[in-house]
Subunit: 345 residues, 4 copies
């Protein structure tokens, strides 16, 4: 330890450091890595391949009898923790035909993003939300939720949760249900009926104040239409954010959700954002540069974006990417920054 | 003046009152009507008949050359003021085929509600908003606006403004345009493209903070779909509020807009609200009781609802009523109250 | 009526206008004065002299037996209405020694600003607020309030209310008390004990969300200290705003309160603000230009500032002016503007 | 690994798990400890003794030449990390007479709580804040700050930061100053002059919207007065929160600060709160039960309160405890809960 930087008394300092340790103290002046000019994440940029995820999820369906059949994406930089990035969970959940994942609730919040298939609905506090490819479905913190596959075919989707963050904050509460699936059918959800009919048209009466969105699902047809309408012909890009239709805030207090479209041959832009994110390719192919490394990606690929990593997307065929991040956390705490610039390559 | 209630010195009090008057003072104890147990409006409940409004608007189109051809609805209780209720303006604006109402802007905010026809668009700060039957269009305070009738047919619509309120508050600012109509066409509005594609799906980036809605029009097809989805089969009623899709607040800081649907034979409910409102029948027929008087109404009829007036609607045929009110003002000032109860008849 | 501007058919237009009138309609194109380039208030700038107010209040104390002994300041521009400006009430309330003004409550909000004396306390929902010279005391809308003069001397203070505004909005509710004065003494108010000890130090627990300030009184010693601390030596001016200590918002949803200090020989600044205000001189003397007219003022003088009137204050001796206005209303409705500039004289 | 719970195919599952690991995936159904009924923190309740902290800080002053002479309190449950609890830093900073800790800034926010002494001031973005015993001083995220000891005596204080949280979120930015101390003196701070004169009395003009408090210091005399005024005679307890005087929000977006007073023989109450906290005894003595263990504490002792730990304080002599926590983080993310009950002993 290069203590001579801090004292001329070599013996004294050794004794002093031993006394500090004995009293559960550490000398700040010897600590390094706490304050860095810019974020220096342990998590690494990483891509999980959709073809592996699909195949392994299918094997889990054949082999595993658990009713929470989820493959958790574990970032190699995080020392074995089952987390995609330090704050966010990403998992592939797999439900066989006619299966039910029974009810529970927990303080962490979740989103489900459907990559393919149909026939499943999720009950959120009793409200049935049908799930089809491209749909985003929310199960906010402390809401009861269960998944029903009413079809014969298995279905897989991406689970995104703030579990790592809530666990870090020592704020996890969990309550199992009574084990018996609800007797429900996949009617139209009350949430959609009230808040999903049209932009800015809501029931008369007081607008509810909740920590999460009043609308619990965002349908692919709607997202696709918005991406098409907002496409910038010059850059070949378009991007939407999913927000609570009665507050404009992020859909969940801990999770921001976005969908990005890049037309083939788009004009690339490099972005850096404080905070961690996970992306998944819904459709198309191209390359995503994460820091210095360029990855060829295709539908089903999931990737981790550690904080402040430069990201540049170039589409080969028209590319739709869903992304969730902890940006609302950074924003709420006054820590959010972002910047974008033309890539150098 | 029954001054003896307040003094035993009759002569002294006369001299005193004269001195008060000389110094521009008035004795509170002699003033009555300031503090009432409940609101006691001067405006009266009133109905203007659609058939008269149409016929007279048409005559104005033939006879009058002004480019702001508006018939102002004047509540008989308001001593000749051209106001439907103390805070709200209601007018029928009439634009002949190929006519333009040129640009200006003013601190009062306006809404346009189209009763029939098509072919007109309104430019709001350069953004072209097409207008068709059942549409609600906003021209918020201090935005430039002009109306273009691109068709051959005349068109009439209902203008709703907060002019009386803004005038009362001595806050009117007005600026005329340069007189030459903008060279614009009725493309899709930028406001709809960005905020009107789907509930809760908005452009990535900071959500704008504005005193008025980010969405400048609410289309009848959307409103109709929401009314249908939210219909309560037991009561035969449904009601939606129009809000800013990124804040959930009323569309304008001074005006709340709602659409109410009553099925034939609906179960009536009596409502009282603090603040003034104006209603207009878009479709159907029935009776509207305003206080003690019941009015048979049909499409095109406009009615004034003074503050705290009990309102009960009974549909004969399915009835759609658009309503705007000063409720955001009352709410912002902590003065809003409402109550509802089963009617006694 | 110069109708020829709008039609070539003189006879037709006369008949048309008659028909409009018969159907309670007015032609907008004939209406003038609705839309002006800048606010054009009916209320006039005006000064009520403190010496008259004092003398007449004292006479009311001798002559009048009412328990709401208030002289209402009536702006000469307002056609006999007992209002200082269109939205604001100003009155001199006078309470003889040992008198009580019994409890009532009303939806309008009130402030009391004490010009001199002591010995009175006001109960606000049971919380006793002592009143001394220079103190500002709030009785927010719908709070029960009564005034007790525990001393032998009469006391007079300035009442400021939003009664004209609430009356205009048809939102007045009033409820009398049971007539018997509360058995209370002028201890320290709970409101001060909790929210008035020190800036930013409040009870642990959820901060209450109320339309009005959690603190019901602002003491002269505090105001004086803040004015002294914030004095700009270059301009000889200082000005503070009274706000809710737990929200930073104006003390009442309809009323903004400020205190301004001008040192003798201050560098003057002309201000124009949208909305109406009332000022009162607490201390000192000088001149106040309201529009084109300069008024010499002294302690006790009350003045009306109609909307957008240029105001310029020049102190002869150090001058403290309390002011209340309807600025929160204008701000909440997106109608507030202000500007300031060096005066031209 | 008890895989037999999840499959009957022992060999297949081993191969499957190996394939998962190879592809950086983990089986959720084998993961335990993620979802617990209640928070289950790794950090342990712990007390650092003031006498050791003082003695070791003094030794650092004699021995160490660093200009950030800080002893970092390291919770024994956190595997060697220099953090008091997972989200919060606690350190004892020691500045010799005439010493300066030169300027830098960083995205983490800090508070300084002075246990004894005087003669130091901290410059926050150029505003000099004097520091005396019992004072709370803020250096919000990304503000430049430096400490000047103008006296001859050394001074030590408690540093509280959100460094662990900001580090976890990969949001640390740091910028050193140019190394030369500012030429400043300990005049009254501008922050106090504007926002610290009196509750609810602030400069006229727009109230600033900032992520942190407009007031950068809370003086002990003020805190003491508030604790005295709000003392509950029945329970012998009183507690205040420090908030932004113009928003009522916590002083920093990540840190809540409170001061608690317990009179000798107070009626104890047990509290549990989600989120982590650090306490320090300013004055007095007594016992603090953290979970199942009771600790006798005296002035200068610092203690760590992991999430959801039951805390019960019993004063022997009148006891003042300053506490900071990550409660604003939990609240902003919708994760905060608390409960309190009479202790069982």
């Amino acid at each position: 330890m290069p203590t001579t930087r801090f004292s001329s008394d070599d013996e004294g300092i050794d004794a002093f450091y031993a006394d500090l340790a004995e009293h559960d103290l550490q000398p700040l002046w010897e600590l390094t890595g706490l304050m860095t000019a810019e974020p220096n994440p342990r998590a690494v940029p990483f891509v999980w391949r959709g073809k592996h995820l699909s195949a392994l999820a299918e094997r889990s369906g054949e082999l595993i009898t658990s009713d929470r059949r989820v493959l958790s994406l574990a970032n190699p930089g995080l020392a074995g923790a089952p987390y995609a990035v330090p704050t966010l969970w990403a998992g592939i959940q797999y439900l066989n035909g006619r299966e039910v994942a029974p009810a529970h609730r927990h303080s962490p919040s979740a989103l489900r993003f459907v990559l393919s298939g149909s026939g499943v609905f999720t009950l959120v506090d009793g409200d049935p939300i049908a799930m089809e490819a491209g749909d985003l479905v929310l199960t906010p913190g402390w809401t009861w939720h269960e998944h029903h596959n009413t079809g014969a075919e298995p279905m897989a989707w991406l689970d995104g949760l703030d579990v790592p963050l809530v666990h870090y904050l020592d704020a996890v509460f969990f309550e199992p249900g009574d084990g018996s699936p609800a007797d429900a059918t996949a009617e139209r959800s009350d949430s959609e009926r009230r808040y999903g009919c049209a932009p800015g048209i809501v029931p008369v009466g007081e607008v509810p104040v909740r920590p999460h969105s009043a609308l619990l699902t965002y349908r692919w047809a709607d997202t696709d239409r918005a991406l098409t309408a907002q496409l910038d012909q010059d850059t070949g890009r378009s991007a939407v954010r999913f927000v609570d239709p009665v507050s404009g805030r992020d859909v969940l207090p801990t999770l921001r959700c976005e969908m990005h479209r890049f037309l083939a041959g788009n004009q690339p832009l490099t972005r850096q954002r404080v905070g961690s994110a996970v992306g998944v390719v819904l459709r198309g192919s191209g390359s995503i540069a994460l820091g210095d490394t360029r990855h060829e990606v295709a539908a089903g690929d999931v990737f981790a974006i550690p904080s402040w990593t430069p990201v540049t997307v170039s589409a080969e065929s028209d590319l739709d990417v869903f992304q969730y991040s902890d940006a609302p956390v950074l924003s709420a705490l006054g820590l959010y920054r972002e910047r974008s610039y033309s890539p150098e390559f």
